[in-house]
Every structure is written in C-alpha cells, then in structure tokens.
C-alpha cells in the first residue's frame, strides 16, 4: 500500500498516475464538498460586494466633478456677452457684475424703521412706492434695477435678516466711453440681447460661448473718434446746427476709423431713443447732398473721354429753366469756365453743361457703378435706402449738381474713396478683418480719371477761387469738394464737405456734415496764408452760410488734429528729411 501511495505521487508515468489520483479524490470528496460550498457561498457574497463597490468606484471615476464635493470659493467669472474693443484693443463695451435687490416684506419686523433707514441710505429711491409695496406684503424688486457692490453692502447694513433681502448677482453691459460710440454700438435689452447697432448686427457672435474670451474687434479708433467728436461739438455750437456728423474711412480698404453722429446719447443710461434727431446720420440718413455730386459729373465726363480738365465751356448762362425749375449760380461767376474751374468755383450751370454732354444713360451708368443709389451692404442694422427716382433730361440737369437725387453720406464717402484710390471698388466695414483676406476690388474708374479728379479737388482747396480754402492746412495736401443743399421743403441747409488726403496719393476720406447750420457772425475765421496775406488773416462778422464757411473750417481743424495720429505726417517735411 505504501508502495502504491508512493507510486501515486510518482508523476513519471502518465496512465497509472492519473488513475490513482482519481481514486484518492473520490475517497475524500464527501468531506471537501461541504467546506467548498460554504467557501463558495462566502466568496460569492464578498465577490458580489466587491463588484458593487468596484462599479461604484468606476462610476465615481467617470463622473468626478462637483457632484460629490463642491468648493465654496469657486467664483468663475465668465461674460455673458463678448467685449467689444477698438482697433487698438481699448475696451468700448464690456460686461460687469452687478446686483439686483429684492425685498420680502413678510420677514421685516419693523417696517417703519426699515423705511427710515432705507431713505437715509438711498435718498434717491421713491419711498412712497416702497411703502405701498411693503403694505401689500408681496415680494418686490427695488426700483433701481442694478445696484453696485457698495450699494449692496449698504443694503446689508440695514440690519435685516437674510430672508428679508434677496440679492442676486447679474451681469450688465457697460460702455466706458459713454457717448463716444453710441451710434455704432447701439443698445441691448435687459436680457442681454442686442436691439440696435453692432450689438444687434453681431448679436449671435457676441453671445457665442466659444468666442467668449476673444473680444469683437472694430476698425474704429478711440482717439480719432474722440478728437472728431470734440470738433463736431464745437462746430455744432459755433454754427448753431441741430446736428453734425463725420466719417473717416481708409480709401483703399474701406475700413472705417471714425463714425460720429450728433446728437448722440449715453449708452449707460439705457434710454429708448425714438427721436429722429438721434438717427445715425451717416448710415441711416438719406439726404440731397448738393454740389458734392459735381465731382461725379466731371469724373463721368473724364471717364467717357468727352472732356479733359482744360476743356472750356464758353458763354455759360446765368440761369437755365427746366420743367418750370430755374437753375442758377450761387454766386456771380465768369461766363467762360474750364472744366477745372467749374469744379473749383462750383458752377451749377457748368455742371449741367457737362452732364448734358455725357447724356442720361452714360451718366446713370457711371453713378450706378459707384453704387450711390443702392441700399448699401454694411455692418449695421441702421442702413438708409436712397429715394428712387426716374431719369430724364431735367433729372440729369439737377443731378449734375447734386439736387433731386439722394444718397447716404456713407455711400457718398465710398464713392469719393473709389475716385481717390485709383478707381477700385471698396466695401466699407467696421469689423476688423485680417489684412490677408482683404482683396482689391473691381476697377470701375480709370487711374487717369482718378488722378485728374484728385488734382482738381486739390485745387478746390488750395486755389484762392476754390470754395474750400479753410481746409488748406499746411502740409496735409487736402483735396475736397463742398456741398450746400437746401433741405426738402425747407429753408434749412445741409452742408457737406468731402475731403481726400493726402491728395497726391489719397489714403483717407473725411466727410463732415452740418445739419441746419446758421451763419456765425461772431465766429473768428482764420484765413490760411496766401499770396496776398502770407501770414494769413482773421475775419469776423461773416454772414454767409455755405459749406465753405462752416464744414470746411471744421474739416480743416479735424485734419489738423488727427493728422499726426494717422501718421500721414507732413509730406513737405518728410520730403526735406
């Protein structure tokens, strides 16, 4: 037997060995079976517990955040609406945290004391209304929609219990420069949705959570905007106008550097603006702009090679009658004028003669190519549509000097930019673009016409007979054209001056407009140096109220101030270096 057992442990030979082992297992099976079942049972329980716990751990690992532990000091700040910045990244619109305070009257023990304290701490609140609301006993919000951190602390210092005051943190939009960008930025409602201007036009982009940390960059320049606005405010006072507007645009790209329309409003006040006086005069205002259209008449004739700048128009009448309307000159002018002189002296009859030479179709096509009568595609909601009209002989005559046809100042500036930049079509914009994405537009005017127009417009400013002498600021080579128009069915005037500078290779177009200006006899005009007066001279008591006597002066002052910022620098000076 012992040998048998010995053999059973021997593993050298297969068949015998296995038979032996089977036998031994069978012999012990009864005793092992009982213990194995218990162990299996216990093992099963533990195993199932382990499985449950492991599942729990896996679940926790998969969803670890915030659900199971929170951090009280977690104050992540995210803006509900993107910032808006200018071209130099100066913030012009941003969101800040403020508070909204509500009162639960049922938890206020001494209402009289509360009212007295409230009146002491918030003297501007209407205590009668609060008294009534307290009497009603329903939950109500304080009259003041948004309270600051300090005001919140003041409220807590009233000594009410936590349940009586309900303070909620909310975000609100603020505009650090108040009035400065009012007509561009527009407004938002209480739910942070844009209702006008850029806030409305780029509403989706401004609310985008993906772009939350990157601001919306505009092409506008804060400093230029401020300087131009200051000059316009002064002009509004000096010439007693009801409104004023200005636009500064790059002639090559169409990017707008400044857009001002007066009167403007403080964006932080959130007042509803319904008055027509507050409309954006540059983009929404549709006006008959007068003599500034003569430039297009001359350009159309030059483009069609019907004339050159020295072509003479002889025996010009003092007045022309067309369809019961009399067209006459604003001033006494020589009877024989060259094309150049017609523009320099702003001759109405001369312009009519040129237009007649062009013909209705060609003239219409030329103006249409400059997109003066379409609704412009622009980055704002507030866009005006020029009043449609029918072309005819009389319309041709009046249109030649800018009467009987309307457009927006933005479109006018765009057309001047095309004439100034060598004839390339541009699209004005205020949302900053990558320079690589900007392509040169279609060529619609020849370089020759562009150069000739720039030269004549320069003479409008620097020649003594020119109508825009006040804008002849030394060194800035300003070119431009004045426009004085009467408002429809009114004696009130709308004076415009469109300038291009530097005239040798225009880079910027500046449009200045005064709405209903008056003559300024008390204003001291400073004449620039001329041959007669090499040191210039001062003049007071002027009664004329044409563009040359107001908008030109304003434009000159603006360019004098913004010139160094635009880094055009004095061409004369730079040539000497």
């Amino acid at each position: 037997m012992a040998e048998k057992n010995k053999n059973s442990r021997q593993k050298s030979f297969f068949f015998e060995d296995y038979i032996e082992s089977e036998i031994t297992d069978n012999n012990e099976s009864k005793t092992v079976k009982v213990s194995l079942s218990r162990i299996t049972f216990l093992f099963f329980i533990f195993f199932s517990l382990i499985i449950i716990f492991s599942f729990k751990i896996i679940y926790l690992s998969l969803f670890p955040e915030k659900k199971y532990y929170s951090f009280s000091n977690d104050s992540s700040f995210y803006k509900e609406r993107r910032d808006i910045v200018d071209r130099n990244k100066n913030i012009i619109a941003t969101n800040v945290n403020v508070y909204k305070a509500g009162i639960r009257p049922q938890f206020i023990v001494n209402k009289e004391k509360f009212l007295i304290n409230l009146r002491l701490k918030f003297p501007n609140l209407n205590s009668d209304i609060i008294k009534k609301k307290l009497k009603k006993g329903n939950f109500f919000y304080l009259e003041k929609k948004r309270i600051t951190e300090e005001e919140k602390d003041k409220l807590w210092s009233l000594g009410l219990n936590n349940k009586a005051i309900d303070i909620q943190e909310i975000q609100t939009r603020i505009y650090p420069h108040k009035y400065l960008f009012s007509h561009i930025l527009g407004q938002i409602d209480d739910d942070n949705n844009g209702i006008s201007g850029v806030e409305k036009f780029f509403d989706k982009s401004l609310l985008s959570s993906e772009l939350r940390n990157s601001p919306l960059i505009l092409t506008l320049d804060l400093n230029l905007q401020y300087l131009i606005r200051e000059e316009l405010i002064k002009a509004k006072e000096n010439f007693n106008s009801v409104g004023a507007a200005a636009l500064l645009m790059n002639v090559d790209s169409g990017e707008i550097l400044s857009l001002i329309s007066l009167p403007d409003y403080d964006l932080n006040q959130r007042t509803s603006i319904n008055s027509e006086a507050y409309l954006n005069k540059i983009t929404l205002g549709v006006y008959e702009l007068g003599s500034v259209f003569k430039t297009f008449t001359v350009a159309a004739a030059l483009e069609n090679k019907l004339i050159n700048s020295n072509t003479m128009f002889n025996n010009l009448e003092s007045s022309i009658t067309c369809d019961k309307h009399t067209i006459s000159e604003h001033d006494k002018l020589p009877k024989n004028l060259s094309v150049e002189q017609i523009l320099i002296r702003s001759s109405n009859i001369g312009a009519v003669r040129i237009a007649q030479q062009i013909g209705v179709k060609k003239y219409e096509n030329f103006l249409n190519s400059l997109e003066l009568f379409n609704t412009i595609n622009f980055d704002l909601e507030e866009i005006g549509t020029p009043i449609p009209f029918k072309w005819g002989k009389c319309k041709l005559a009046t249109a030649s000097y800018g009467h009987g046809i309307t457009t927006t100042p933005l479109q006018l500036a765009k057309a001047y930019a095309i004439l100034g930049n060598g004839g390339y079509k541009i699209k004005p914009f205020i949302l900053k673009k990558d320079k690589k994405l900007m392509q040169k537009g279609e060529k619609i005017v020849s370089k020759r016409t562009s150069d000739e127009i720039n030269l004549i417009l320069r003479k409008v400013v620097n020649e003594e007979e020119g109508t825009a002498n006040f804008a002849n600021i030394e060194g800035y080579e300003i070119a431009g054209k004045t426009g004085t128009a009467l408002k429809y069915n009114s004696e009130a005037k709308l004076n415009t001056f469109v300038s291009l500078f530097p005239a040798s290779k225009p880079k910027y177009v500046l449009l200045v407009m005064l709405d209903e200006p008056k003559s300024a006899p008390n204003y001291v005009y400073e004449f620039p140096p001329s041959e007669k007066f090499p040191k210039g001279y001062k003049h007071k008591g002027e009664k004329r109220n044409t563009s040359g006597w107001n908008t030109v002066v304003v434009a000159g002052k603006i360019i004098e101030k913004i010139g160094p910022i635009l880094a055009i620098n004095n061409l004369q000076a730079s040539n000497k270096f």
């Binding site: 593993k11 050298s12 030979f13 297969f14 162990i39 093992f43 533990f46 195993f47 382990i50 716990f53 492991s54 751990i57 926790l60 690992s61 670890p64 955040e65 532990y69 951090f71 000091n73 977690d74 104050s75 992540s76 700040f77 100066n90 913030i91 941003t94 800040v96 603020i174 650090p176 420069h177 108040k178 400065l180 804060l222 400093n223 401020y226 300087l227 200051e230 030394e474 060194g475 004098e560 101030k561 010139g563 160094p564 004095n570 004369q572 000076a573 730079s574 000497k576 270096f577």
Partner: protein, 243 residues
Amino acid sequence: MSVDPKKWTNTLPISNTLANDEKYVLDGNRWVKTIPKKNLISIRQKYSIIAIIFVLGLFSVSTIKNATRELQKEISNLTTSVNKLKFNFHQSTVEHQFLTAPEKISLLAKKHLEHDFFAYKNSQIDTFGNAKKIELSKLKIEVDGQNSKTKAEKIKDNVKLKTVKIVKKKKEELRKLQELYSKPEKLPDVIKTGIAKKIEKTKQEIRSLYSNSDKSINSSKISKWAGIQIVKVFLGIPIVPGR
C-alpha cells in the same frame, strides 16, 4: 550453384541500418512531454490570488482616487484663484479704460496744464526738417550763448574791480594805522591828548577799585552774580568759564 545470402545482404546500405535503429528506439520522455502538465497552483489558490489582486487593486484605486481628489481640489482652488485674478484684472482693465479715456485725460489736461494740446504747425516741422535752418538756429543759439557769456564775464569783472578797490582802500587804512603805531611821535597832538586822557581815566578807575574795593562790590552786584551762577548750575553751564 549455391546462393550466397551475404552477397545481397552486403549490398544494402550500411548507414540506413543505424538510422533505423535510432528511429525505432522508444523514448518515454518524448511522449510524456506532450501530456499537459497538471497545474501546480490549485483552483483555490488561483481564486485567492485573483481576489487578493482585486482587493489590492481596489485599495490602490481608492488611494489613487483620494490622491486625485486632493489634486483636483488643488487644481480647483488654483482655477478659482486664477478666475479671481482674471476677474480682478478685468475690473482693473475696465477701470483703467475709464480713467484713461481721452475725455478724462483732456479734462485733466485742462485742469492741470496751462495750455491745451496743439497740433504741430508746418513752420514748426520745417525747423526740424530743414537742415540749414537747424544749423542757422544752432548758430543763433551759439551766438546768443556767447553774448550771455560776455555779459556774465562783464559782471564778474565789475565785481572784481569793486572788490579790488575796497581791498586797496582797506590796505591803505591798515598801512596808515601800522605807521601810526610804529611811530607814535608822528601822531597829531589832538589824538595824543585824547589817548592820554583815556589812559589817565582808566588808571584812576583801577586805583579806586583797589582802594575802595568794598564799595565797588555792592550787594546788588553780588546778588546779580549769585543769581547768574544759580541759573548756570541749573542749566549745567560751568560756573567758572573754561572748565
């Protein structure tokens, strides 16, 4: 003809016989190796090892989890502080924007600066641009500088002259006095008598002091002297000067 069996047998290749011998030798181990070995570890051991590994795994998961949680807390705290800093930065930026707005700056300029800002006039730029003008202006400055130098020198010379005159005068006076003291016989009679009178007067005073010393030192003088000494004591000034 008898058949020689060896004759044919010898024709068989010898090498193959050896190979066949090897081929048909049974190797027991060769087959045993093919049989799957009986597991050294029993099922119980296997399960227990798995269970131990599993439990250890669970413990390690929980420790790792705890460590991760700590790290997450730290990260969360850091994120909070970053957010706070971001918020503060935003607030400061807005404040900065408000305070440095052109409107504010121009108001401050009006309040604190004497003049409003002016754009450069062409004439001003010309002086920078025109090299000749610059040279001329430099020359002017130099000439002006020279003028100013000569003026200063003139003033100095005047002062010098005046002082020299005064010094000369003083020297002259001193020389005269020295002469007088060295040769008293040359002194005028009026001065001589005056000096003699003064000498006589002081002599008389000294004599009277020696003869009537009790009279010269009266009570008021003593009290005055004593008072001064007391005050000196209180103020810490030495009573006898020089000590």
